[in-house]
């Protein structure tokens, strides 16, 4: 017997092991490095037990049991590699494939398809099925989701997602037997803010994103682990690019932030990166400035300024804001304020997922770096200083998707400064008449740390390809400016700047880029004795 009630001693493939009571065989086996295949099982959804691929041999049952739903028990003996278990898996694979069209060469899921993976590992190398395959519908289920019914294996992950996570319940299984297929009710398309997740969790190519359809073979894309800048939730995402261009965003598992999901606003919200109005090069008095000359022009304008104000945006990383602070400090007598775009609406879902009303990925971080009154008292002071013309030079950061600049009121006020330096992602009225326009990076192109609404620091990483001929990021331009101002010998990586920040700021002290890793950390949770690390990662 085990020593405590909370652990269970059982046997996995002949080895006696211990696990916490209440775990399923599948979860417990994973702890011991035994991966059991799965189609219908998803950790974020209820157990359906319908695909049967996870069947294993048990000493407690004459038939193989499904490891996604059976729980471990004292004395249970499970075999995952016995003849019974292997044959059960192989038979499920054979059944799954008989009516599957095997159209992998034209299927968008190919390369990341669970059916392909399991077929390779457990499936037969040829089919005994000589009959005609069943035909099921191919159609639009909603504005962003199509279904290729022939590929559907009726695992019902998508149906359960819409029932349990988004709570919208648009999807259902229609028909019976091998005619079963996922569908929507007539006139009720799948159109909710989380719909895109159904494509991610589809283990085959049945649900297809109409946005990504035929855009890329998944194995050709580069992946960057980043953070969505759509709101202050900070969903962990994978940015997938082909030849340097973003093709799609998919959620990255983080149980402290977004579980396995992301919303469609974030998922499809990257088109502005390639808008025609995107700024690609710096302009000084209407003349193009070379990428290497930007910081020089910036230095020239600032060194002749009598009073300088900085207007920062809540999309800037903590590193960029730290650089702005140190530049402003060395200039003397300069002020820093921030602008906030309009708040959106909060959306919460039955599964616990939340889209924040606060659309600013780094408002919290900006307040930590530059003071809690950055967007309030400081902003009001700057507004009045700009309206009465007491600002000689204004350095304005106009980031985000940038189609509206900093918003109506600020756009008018920006033009009241004597001299204007505008870091902008998009062309617009805010650039008109500016002395220097510097192209700015948008979310997904930034390298650094954002702090989300729960005070969690997470690294956002640039999806820009190192080999492409991009304009230098603000991180580089601002550091080059520091070199011109004799504040720095040479530019550092974002990790190096973050170390400087953590050494000067209480809020960030103890944290480092490598410590934050892929999934980030609450600022209050400081790693012990890790201070000497993180300079050159």
């Amino acid at each position: 017997m085990s020593d405590s009630n909370s652990t269970v001693r059982w046997t996995l493939n002949g080895t006696e092991v211990e696990n916490e009571a209440g775990m399923t065989i599948m979860e417990a086996a994973k702890v011991h490095g035994v991966d059991i295949p799965q189609f219908c099982y998803h950790p974020g959804l209820s157990i359906a037990g319908n695909c049967r691929i996870c069947m294993v041999e048990s000493n407690r049952s004459p038939k193989p049991v499904i490891s996604c739903s059976e729980r471990i028990a004292e004395g249970l003996e499970i075999k995952t590699q016995s003849e019974v278990a292997v044959d059960a898996r192989n038979s499920v694979m054979e059944f799954q494939l008989i009516n599957h069209p095997l159209d992998c060469p034209v299927c968008d899921k190919a390369g990341e398809c669970v059916l392909q993976d399991h077929s390779y590992e457990h499936g037969p190398d040829r089919s005994r099925f000589v009959e005609d395959k069943n035909i099921r519908h191919t159609k639009e289920l909603g504005p962003t989701i199509d279904i290729w019914g022939n590929r559907c294996i009726v695992c019902t992950r998508c149906v359960r997602f819409c029932d349990e996570i988004s709570g919208t319940g648009e999807l259902c299984v229609v028909e019976r037997g091998d005619r079963s297929v996922v569908d929507v009710f007539p006139g009720v398309p799948i159109d909710n803010s989380l719909a895109g997740n159904t494509v991610d969790i589809c283990p085959v190519g049945a649900l297809i994103s109409s946005d990504f359809k035929y855009e890329a073979r998944v194995w050709n894309m580069d992946k960057t682990s980043s953070v969505c800048g759509g709101c202050s939730r900070g969903c962990n995402v994978e940015v997938e690019t082909l030849d340097g261009f973003v093709k799609r965003l998919t959620p990255r598992e983080n149980l402290d932030v977004n579980d396995w999901w992301m919303c469609d606003h974030g998922r499809y919200g990257w088109r502005h990166l390639y808008a025609d109005s995107r700024l690609e090069s710096a302009q000084h008095d209407g003349q193009a400035v070379s990428p290497t000359g930007t910081s020089g022009a910036l230095h020239q304008l600032l060194s002749s300024s009598s009073s300088t104000a900085f207007l920062v945006d809540p999309y800037m990383t903590c590193e960029e804001l730290h650089l702005v602070r140190s530049i402003a400090n060395s200039l003397g007598g300069s002020t820093i304020a921030g602008w906030l775009p309009a708040a959106g609406t909060e959306e919460t879902f039955p599964g616990g997922f939340k889209i924040s009303a606060d659309k600013h990925p780094n408002r919290k971080g900006a307040e930590h770096v530059l003071g809690s009154d950055l967007f309030t008292a400081s902003a009001d002071q700057l507004k009045s200083a700009l309206s009465n013309g007491s600002i000689d030079t204004l350095v304005a950061f106009v980031g985000g998707d940038g189609f509206e600049g900093a918003g109506g009121e600020w756009n008018d006020l920006i033009s009241k400064a004597g001299k204007r330096i505008v870091f902008a992602t998009q062309q617009g009225s805010w650039c008109d008449g500016a002395d220097l326009v510097v192209p700015a990076t948008a979310p997904l192109e930034k390298e650094g740390v954002w702090v989300n609404e729960d005070d969690r620091a997470q690294r956002t990483r640039s999806c820009r390809s190192l080999t492409s001929n991009h304009f230098p990021s603000e991180l580089v331009v601002l550091q080059e400016l520091q070199v011109h101002m004799d504040l720095r010998n040479r530019p550092l990586s974002a990790a190096g700047i973050f170390r400087e920040l953590s050494e000067t700021s209480d809020a960030f002290s103890g944290h480092s880029h490598s410590g934050l890793g892929d999934s980030g950390s609450p600022l209050s949770q400081r790693p012990a004795a890790m201070s000497s690390e993180g300079g050159h990662s």
Binding site: N50, E131, G177
Partner: protein
């Protein structure tokens, strides 16, 4: 003691379904005693002692099933009466509901008293329009006479009975499939555990019993467990309704003691094989059972004997096939049913039932290959015991046994370019369908 019919003694009499008639024959006396004189635990013990076994197909001991329901729960408990009788070859519950509906209601009252249930649902097959109306009329009458409702038969026991009509799906006769259907969802079986006795209808403890099972209860109370056990074999006693259909002179429902010989049932009660022909095959317990050859028919019709013979009593739907039957066509007919009725939830059943039908169809129309016979057996092996409910088993059992026991019919169909019926209709095309495979 000579055998006394309890379900069907008066079915040929006028108004046999009426409350007045039922009461004139002593109806509701046992329910009245159960409500007023019996303790619930004693009722359960008596049913256990009588060794009443479920008549729906699985043959689970009824009293034991009742015992699984937790005694102290703060949720309501339900009885779900399975009247979805849709197993091919089965038509016994229909007879009870149409001719003797008050017998079922009396059984329901006894069961509900024993388990402490105050709401019973009767899930009746959608096609049984007449039966559903009869049943509803009987329930309405029982309410107006104070047999059901707030004070059942003058006791302080409250019981409501609701008739829920199905919509034509075989899978809703599976107990958890039936529960999801009553709940208003797509009728498909649920994972077990939790079992219905603990978490069934609307998430509450639920007893699921077949119509015929419940109809036994008044008789058990009347004669006592000991006498009841003397009817038929010790291990599965009681009176039983046998449905005989197919190639017999006198098809119908026969009430006989459990354990009657299959040969006697066919030859004496059902008038023997029709048109003076010879017997070829018998499916003894609804289409889900393994088929028996003519030589295997000297078997007692009870749960243990049929299990020993490699088949099952099931719903006691005896389908008789004469010597002119082509077993390829029989297989195709049965597989078409299971393919059509598989709910599509579990992979082996969803894909396997369709595959089996396609193979059977191909052999029947002249495209068969000799290796298909092994393929059928292997596909069946891969379906049995690998799904949430027993529908995959129900499709695989007849398929593997028909192919195994009547292999010569299949070999003939493969060699002659199709089943005899197909060849007769398409003499010119013989072998043509084989060409495309």
């Amino acid at each position: 003691m000579s055998f006394r019919k309890i379900f069907t003694p008066y079915i040929h009499e006028d108004k046999c379904h009426s409350l007045k008639f039922y009461q004139s024959k002593g109806g509701y006396e046992q329910a009245r005693k159960a409500l007023n004189d019996w303790q619930p635990d004693d009722l359960i013990e008596t049913v256990k002692a009588a060794n009443l076994r479920g008549r729906g197909g699985a043959g689970f001991p009824t009293g034991v099933k009742w015992g699984f329901v937790p005694k102290q729960v703060d949720k309501p408990k339900y009885l779900a009466v399975n009247a979805d009788e849709s197993e091919p070859g089965t038509f016994k519950d229909r007879l009870i509901m149409e001719k003797n509906p008050h017998l079922l209601l009396e059984g329901i009252i006894i069961c509900c008293k024993a388990v402490g249930i105050h709401h019973a649902y009767i899930y009746i097959r959608g096609e049984f329009v007449f039966g559903a109306n009869r049943l509803q009329n009987a329930i309405d009458r029982a309410y107006s006479e104070g047999i059901l409702g707030e004070n059942c038969l003058g006791s302080d026991f409250k019981l409501d009975v609701t008739v829920h009509r199905g919509a034509g799906a075989y899978i809703c006769g599976e107990e958890t499939g039936m529960l999801t259907s009553i709940e208003g969802d797509r009728g498909q079986p649920k994972l077990k555990p939790p079992f219905p006795a603990v978490e069934g209808l609307f998430g509450c403890p639920t007893v699921v019993n077949n119509v015929e099972t419940l109809a036994n209860l008044p008789y058990i109370l009347e004669i006592g467990a000991e006498e009841y056990r003397k009817i038929g074999p010790e291990n599965s006693p009681g009176p039983k309704l046998f449905c005989v259909s197919g190639h017999v002179e006198k098809p119908g429902v026969f009430e006989l003691p459990m354990g009657v010989s299959l040969r006697t049932l066919i030859d004496e009660h059902a008038g023997g094989v029709w048109k003076g022909r010879k017997l070829k095959a018998v499916i003894p317990g609804g289409s889900s059972a393994h088929v028996l050859t003519a030589d295997e028919c000297d078997v007692a019709m009870d749960i243990e004997s049929l299990a020993a013979a490699g088949t099952m009593l099931g719903s006691a739907g005896v389908i008789v096939m004469d010597e002119t039957t082509c077993m390829v066509d029989a297989l195709l007919n049965i597989m078409r049913f299971y393919h059509h009725e598989s709910c599509g939830q579990c992979t082996p059943c969803r894909e396997g039932t369709g595959w089996l039908e396609k193979i059977a169809h191909r052999i029947a129309v002249g495209g068969g290959r000799i290796e298909d016979l092994d393929l059928v057996t292997e596909v069946c092996d891969r379906m049995v015991g690998k799904t949430i409910c027993a529908l995959a088993d129900a499709a695989a059992f007849p398929a593997e046994s028909i192919v195994k026991k009547f292999r010569e019919d299949f070999v003939a169909a493969i060699e002659n370019g199709g089943s005899p019926a197909w060849v007769k209709r398409h003499p010119a095309n013989t072998g043509g369908a084989a060409a495309h495979v």
